[in-house]
């Protein structure tokens, strides 16, 4: 039997279908919890964040618009935001950004995910791996921990302008590398 698409499950959720919600949770729980754990680094807190993310997805399923992007991106953005809120008021980020970057770019087992998804992920990993640490560090701090350029500048003892410049150069390089294969 062909599994329902993500969009179909969201439509089901939008009208309050519990079965659709269960299938949706089952399909995405490892990715949602994985992202939450990556950001907050505490399993119990990560489960709270993951649960909150699914509740928000359930509540806002009717507002999802497929033209805006994939369901996975939408759901992981909700998760990322919830996780950032959970760590926002700590003085220190849960994990050194260089260590987190190393985890993000580490080689993965190709048999662990579908071939097309593995190829995409491997391409993103490769692009991030090529960034100098002075660029990947602020990009990771901003993306995964929600730090502003000013936050990062204070944390790393750098001028705000330097941080902004490094982030822009880093994202520009990533955009060029990732965009090069999209066409």
């Amino acid at each position: 039997m062909t599994p329902l698409t993500d969009e179909s499950l969201l439509v089901g959720m939008a009208v309050g279908d519990q079965d659709a919600a269960a299938a949706f949770v089952r399909r995405y729980q490892a990715r949602v919890y994985g992202l939450a754990l990556t950001v907050v680094a505490i399993p119990a807190l990560a489960e709270e964040v993951a649960q909150e993310s699914f509740v928000k997805a359930w509540q806002h399923a009717a507002a999802y618009d497929a033209r805006r992007g994939r369901v996975a991106t939408w759901l992981l953005t909700i998760t990322r935001n919830a996780a950032i809120d959970a760590v926002r008021y700590r003085r220190e980020v849960p994990l050194d950004p260089d260590v987190l970057t190393a985890k993000l770019v580490a080689d993965q087992d190709p048999s662990a995910e579908p071939a097309d998804r593995f190829a995409t992920m491997d391409h993103i990993r490769g692009a991030l791996r090529q960034l100098p640490l002075e660029q990947s560090r602020p990009v990771v701090l901003m993306t995964f921990y929600g730090l502003t350029a000013k936050d990062i500048a204070e944390r790393d003892g750098l001028p705000v302008g330097t941080v902004k410049s490094r982030v822009r150069r880093g994202l520009g390089a990533l955009r060029d590398r990732l965009g090069a294969s999209d066409g």
Binding site: G16, A22, G34, Q51, A62, N81, A82, D85, F144
Partner: protein
């Protein structure tokens, strides 16, 4: 010249906007600029796509065995209502854009704010080269009594926000097209000088010359788009 300066200032902030962490007045100014500048919107869209890709790199982990049951129990009381999807989507899009441009997003953001800002970007992105425009509402003697917003998309819509009308009551809202046709599109109630209202429209935004609010005995309020 002013536009390139605005572009430069906005582009400085694009990574933080894309990450949903930009703060304060600079963010409000940048969001307003994005409403007018296709090039900056395109760049924001590209940076956002990069950040979305990076988030995908977070490794998967299975939660504890009771997680699914726990989530489903939490969902039951949060069950969404059976609202019409189109109406919901329209209301969300209008509220997002109007809130963004009228300063409702200033200050340190919560995740809901970031979601709102993201929806703002995404809503604009939906237009994909089309546009969102805003104009002051004024009368012959008052320079600004509110704002009108028009969005070219699918569907296209207009949203009126009256903030300081000199006369309260129910106003007829009319589109005046560039070929001088007047089209009644609905009624906007104004109480104590304030009111807001929106609707989807069939007229392409580029064909709107102005939107006017008309009421007998009251000064006509008008927003010029042409």
């Amino acid at each position: 010249m002013a536009e390139s300066q605005a572009c430069q200032e906005t582009r400085e902030l694009l990574p933080e906007l894309a990450a949903g962490v930009a703060e304060g007045g600079a963010r409000a100014v940048a969001l307003a600029h994005l409403g007018r500048c296709l090039d900056c919107r395109r760049e924001l869209s590209e940076i956002t796509a990069v950040l979305d890709d990076l988030v995908l790199l977070a490794p998967e982990h299975e939660p504890s065995p009771g997680f699914e049951t726990s989530v489903l129990n939490a969902l039951a009381p949060a069950r969404p209502g059976r609202r019409p999807l189109r109406a919901t989507a329209f209301a969300a899009a209008a509220a997002v854009l109007v809130a963004a441009l009228t300063g409702g997003l200033v200050g340190r953001q919560t995740s809901d704010d970031r979601q709102l800002a993201r929806q703002y970007r995404d809503t604009l992105a939906v237009a994909d080269g089309r546009y969102f425009v805003a104009a002051d509402i004024s009368t012959a003697v008052e320079p600004s009594t509110g704002h009108a917003f028009a969005y070219q998309g699918s569907p296209s819509w207009v949203f009126i926000s009256v903030e300081s009308a000199s006369s309260s009551g129910t106003y007829q809202v009319q589109l005046i097209t560039t070929d001088h046709r007047a089209i009644d599109i609905g009624l906007c109630g104004v109480t104590d000088g304030k009111g807001s209202w929106g609707t989807t429209i069939q007229v392409p935004i580029r064909d709107i010359s102005r939107i006017q609010l008309v009421r007998a005995g009251a000064p006509t309020m008008s927003a010029r788009f042409g």
